[in-house]
Each structure stands twice: as C-alpha cells, then as structure tokens.
C-alpha cells in the first residue's frame, strides 16, 4: 500500500481508479481520462495534488541560501507573492528536482515533486551548514489544483469574500496567504487556474463543495496529457539527475547574472555552454494513426538519433504527440520506431496547446 493523501477515501467514493505515483496511491481517473482532459480545457476541473511537498524556508539567510541552492535567482522576486520556477542542480549540473518558489511574508515557500520530496530535503539539509536558515516540511497541508478557463470564476463563488477578491486580483504566477489558505495562480495544464494549499482537515470539505458545484474531479492521467500538450517537463521523464537544464528547455530558468552568484552546478553549466549544448527537447506530432511512447527511438536524417521522453495521445489534437530529446541541429521531419516500423513525424516547438488553442 502506498502513501495516501487526506482525500483518499473521497477519491474512492467518487469512483477513482487508483495508480501508484511515486509511492502514492493517487486517482488515475474517475471514469474517462479523455473526458477529464476535455473538461479542463473547456471548463475546469479539480486535482488533488497533496502528494507534492511544501517546504517553507525561513531565517535571516534564506535568500542567500536559495541563491546558492537554485539555478534560478530568487533575487528576481521583487515583491511578496511573486513566484519563480527553478531547477535545483547537483555539482554536475544534473537536475535534483524542479520546483516553484514563492516569496512570502515569512521567507520563501517551495513546492517540490511528490517522488523526490525525501531526496530534496536530504539534499537541502546537506547544504545548510553555515547558513542561518530553517526548513519546515509542511506535511500537514493539502494541495488542490483547480485548472481551466472558468476555474477562477467558479472558485470565487465558493469561497469567502476576502479569498474571492484575492483570486480576482492575483496575477499569473503569484501566490498569497489568506487566513490559513495559500492561494496561487499557477498550474501544470497550460490553462488559467489556481493551486490552493490549505490545512488537510479542510481539504475534503472544500473538495466536496467544488464537486457539489459541478466541478469535475480530474485524475493524474489527464494531468499528464494536459501538461504534455502544454509542453511542460515531468520530473523522471524529461528531467532527472542525468540531464542538465540546458538540454531540457530550461535554459531560461538559469539566471547567469549576476556573474558572481555561485549556485550549485554553475561551473558545470558554464563548461557545458562553452563546449556547446548537444541536444534539446522538441515536440513531435504523429500524422498517422498510432501512439508515440516514452523511450521510442527518433531518427533525423543526416542529423542523428534521439529518444522520446514522454509520448501519448493528445485528446485536444486527436493525434499522438511526444516530447523528445534530439541532437541540437534537429530538422522539421523525423521518424520514430514503433514496434519495429518507422513512422514519419513532424518536429515542432514543444508547446502543442495553450489556453484551449492548438499551436501546431
């Protein structure tokens, strides 16, 4: 038996089919993964993402410590509530994890991946010495994501006036505390929406309120196809300790300036940049029938070979899409080997769908 979120029994009552995700028993879907996907693109849906870890960072040296720990620069966070996306690297430039960092009244709030939480905490603790920093793993909190074009409007109707006002005024990639809720305008679907971090004991009743208001629960299956269409990396698929952010479409998250900011992995990334970045993540679109899957081989004429990191059927596009790591030179066309046969694919920018619209 895996770990369970506070909403586990509610998922069962709602008919969830369960799946193991990073040691957690999580809902894969509640009936149809494809319908849930459409629901989020067209209206909105709720995800239980309480398996993700919330880590609060406080202490007088929280800022210089995070500037050392992370490849992105928390110095860029100009005012309370702003968020940034960053990789946490090892000294080789490999990605220990990716996360969102919020600047809060008390310091910083980090939201890291489910399967990597224990590893991340061990890594962070191993790099604490010499810093006046205190880490608090907020395991008592639950986290719900409400995503889709109507998410903010519908949630605004279900919460207190103060929270509704905050939801109305939050800009994209901002998060603020309101009472014992932390409400952020962030997500992992390519749609507008919210992520709400709240006490576990309030999560079930709020989830129930949302379902009662006609908002569909959405499983991790649709979460995966939504993030794939949005071209977002998934830790363990596109990124892990074997790859650097520079070959993972995360170059924009590496803050090179100020040049004297000595973050872990910096020397390795600079060496990689000097040597020349070898590969990149691209999008693939299969024009024929079939389904692209992770680890299938990609062949680009006169360029070389690559590999699919995530592949699935795109419910929005009604065809199969994938993210693949290919040689930097790449091309407009490639071929993918599926069960011994080579299928032609189109190579595209790895953002397939945003705000309900096909981009390819």
């Amino acid at each position: 038996m895996g770990q369970r979120t506070p909403l586990f029994d509610l998922h069962l009552a709602l008919g969830a089919k369960l799946v193991d995700f990073g040691g957690w028993d999580m809902p894969l879907h509640y009936g149809s993964q494809v319908e849930e996907h459409h629901q989020v693109r067209r209206d909105c849906g709720i995800f239980d993402v309480s398996h993700m870890h919330v880590i609060d960072v406080s202490g007088s040296q929280a800022k210089p410590w995070l500037q050392h720990l992370l490849a992105n620069d928390v110095g860029r966070l100009q005012h309370t509530g702003r968020a940034l996306y960053s990789a946490m690297l090892d000294t080789q430039g490999g990605i220990v994890d990716d996360m969102i960092v919020y600047l809060t009244e008390q310091g910083y709030r980090l939201v890291v991946n489910a399967a990597t939480g224990a590893k991340d905490l061990a890594w962070m603790n191993a790099h604490l010495s010499g810093f006046d920093v205190h880490l608090t793993h907020r395991a008592e909190l639950a986290m719900l994501a409400i995503q889709g074009p109507h998410a903010r409007q519908k949630i605004g109707e279900l919460v207190t006036q103060a929270r509704a006002e905050l939801i109305h005024t939050l800009r994209p990639f901002e998060g603020q505390q309101e009472g014992d809720w932390f409400i952020a305008r962030t997500g992992y679907t390519g749609e507008d929406g919210l992520e709400i971090i709240l006490p576990a004991e309030q999560a079930c009743s709020f989830f129930n309120d949302m379902v009662g208001a006609g908002i569909s629960p959405i499983g991790l299956g649709a979460r995966d196809t939504l993030r794939l269409e949005a071209g977002m990396n998934l830790y363990g698929q596109e990124i892990d300790e074997q790859v650097s952010p520079l070959i993972s479409n995360m170059g924009w998250t590496v803050a090179w300036k100020p040049e004297d900011r000595d973050f872990i992995g910096r020397a390795a990334l600079e060496a990689e940049r000097t040597k020349g970045i070898a590969s990149k993540l691209v999008g693939l679109v299969l024009e024929e029938r079939g389904v692209l899957r992770a680890h299938q081989v990609v062949r680009i004429a006169e360029v070389g070979e690559g590999e699919i990191t995530s592949g699935s059927f795109s419910p929005t596009l009604s065809k199969s899409i994938a993210l693949a790591r290919v040689p930097m030179a790449t091309a407009d066309r490639a071929e993918v080997e599926i069960r011994g046969k080579w299928y032609p694919v189109r190579v595209v920018q790895p953002t397939f769908v945003r705000h309900g619209k096909a981009l390819i």
Partner: protein
C-alpha cells in the same frame, strides 16, 4: 463489476472468442477495456496472417499504455474490423459487439475447449 456474456469463451489474457458459422470472432473483454482506459488506437492483424493459439495478433493502445492482443485460437485471419481505425473508442463503449478480427480456425473445438467459460473467467479476474 464487469459484464461477462455466458455464450463467450475467454482467454486468460482477456480476449473473448465466439463461434460464428465456421469462423471465430475475437475481441477484448469488458474487464480488459476497463483496465486499459480510453482506447485511442488499434493495430489490426494483417488479413491472411496465420496464428498459433496464443500468438500476438495486434495491439490495443489506450491513452495510458499499449497492450498486445493474442489470438485465442489457431488459424488464418480472414477479416479485420476496419471501423476501429476511425472509432477505437468502440472497444470501450461496447466491448462485446466491437470485434477486432475473425479467424478461420484450424482446430476450433480443441482451442475453444482450452479457453475459459464465463464462470471460470469471472473467477480468473476475481469477480
């Protein structure tokens, strides 16, 4: 709880087989389609292909994963359900009327006898 028609025979790998004249019609069980989730692609066998019972005959892909389909009987593929190309989700909607392929069997009685009846299949999937 899935549906298990009494007139069908089942492979432990979740295909159903039905005698139809001198042919055997093959599909996947309700239990199988439920476990697979939304089916988005079916790779059909080639007409004329000859299978031994238990040979991989095709692939059903859901959003989640690809799953091999095995021929429950030996014989030659004489017909495939081309309409699954356009509407693979029919395997979810009506697993027992959405057949995948038809085989001209070489040993129908012997092969069918080795398959599970509805009760035995029900027990095999723990229902």
């Amino acid at each position: 709880m899935s549906t298990i028609p009494a007139e069908l025979r089942f492979a432990e790998s979740h295909e159903w087989a039905k005698q139809e004249g001198d042919l055997i019609v093959v599909g996947i069980s309700d239990h199988a389609q439920e476990a697979l989730g939304d089916v988005v692609f079916v790779e059909l066998p080639e007409i004329g292909k000859v299978f031994v019972a238990g040979d991989a005959a095709g692939v059903v892909e859901s959003v989640k994963a690809a799953s091999d389909i095995y021929s429950p009987v030996a014989g030659e593929v004489v017909e495939v359900n081309e309409s699954l190309g356009e509407t693979p989700e029919e395997l979810n909607n009506s697993p027992y009327s959405s057949w995948i392929f038809k085989v001209k069997p070489s040993n129908a009685d012997g092969d069918l006898a080795k398959l599970l009846d509805a009760d035995a299949y029900k027990a095999a999937i723990g229902e």
